[in-house]
């Protein structure tokens, strides 16, 4: 059981790191601001989410796991808000 | 090589870099920034000292740690005061040129 949990952790964390790296790459390589933003928000939410998911079995207690979830929820909220605001600024700048 | 060596050297480099920034920048805002870098370096020196003093079941000597926390907050207070002065000076200067 704990072996299974460990394997799950490793897999999910690796996947999360992959998405974060992909998002970074997208931010570097994509041609215009809006598509860069697109790459960023996906990487943000999914990458961190997968890492959180992976670490949850290791948290040891229900409270610890919930704390991890809260971290992710907050990051998502911030990401969504800032994504909106950046898009608005980008549009204003391009006009 | 361990974390004490690495971060000790980093602390020294930050102090030098921060001091250089404070001395060479003409813009007050940049000086404030550089001064904070210098402060970061000094705090790291304390951090390294704290780490070396690890013992009695702690990861680091708690006394320097407490002093770093005090230092960070006081540095922030000083920064806000500096920024307030800076903004006020800028405001006065603008009024002066407008008239």
């Amino acid at each position: 059981m704990s072996l299974l949990a460990d394997a799950f952790t490793v897999l999910a964390v690796l996947a999360g790191l992959f998405f974060l790296a992909a998002g970074t790459l997208g931010l570097l390589r994509f041609p215009d601001t809006l598509s860069r933003l697109h790459a960023l928000t996906k990487a943000d939410g999914l990458g961190l989410g997968l890492i959180v998911l992976g670490l949850m079995p290791q948290a040891g207690s229900l409270l610890g796991a919930l704390k991890l979830l809260l971290v992710w929820a907050l990051a998502m909220l911030a990401g969504a808000t800032v994504g909106q605001m950046i898009a608005r600024i980008a549009r204003r700048e391009s006009q | 090589m361990n974390e004490v060596t690495i971060f000790g050297l980093l602390a020294a480099a930050l102090v030098g870099l921060g001091l250089y920034g404070v001395l060479t920048h003409a813009a007050p805002l940049r000086r404030i920034l550089s001064f904070n870098l210098l402060g970061g370096g000094v705090f790291l020196v304390f951090g390294v000292v704290a780490r070396r003093g690890a013992g009695a079941g702690f990861d680091g000597d708690p006394v320097p740690q407490a002093i770093i926390i005090t230092g960070i907050v006081v540095a922030f207070a000083a920064t806000t005061l500096a920024i307030a002065l800076l903004l006020r000076i800028a405001e006065l200067r603008q009024d002066g040129t407008d008239d």
């Binding site: 974060l20 790296a21 970074t24 959180v52 991890l68 907050l74 950046i86 600024i89 700048e93 | -």
Partner: protein
């Protein structure tokens, strides 16, 4: 984790203005991820609290970023 920290660095000097805010945003997320991984790796649950406060403050700081930029006409 190394890739996150190292990769983010190149972002900061990346393109321009609005992009720089995105870089900061990604840096925040990367920092949170790094803290969580450190917490698991060093077996110190208190670091999760640090990640928690960082995630609240990252939200706060990036909003400030977004408000600071439109004031500047380029």
């Amino acid at each position: 984790m190394l890739t996150v920290v190292a990769g983010l660095w190149r972002v900061l000097r990346g393109p321009t203005d609005a992009d720089r805010m995105m870089a900061a945003q990604l840096l925040g997320t990367g920092g949170i991820a790094a803290l969580l991984l450190l917490a698991a790796g060093m077996g110190n649950g208190a670091i999760v609290d640090a990640a928690l406060s960082l995630s609240v403050l990252a939200a706060f700081a990036s909003v400030a970023f977004a408000l600071a930029v439109p004031g500047r006409r380029r």
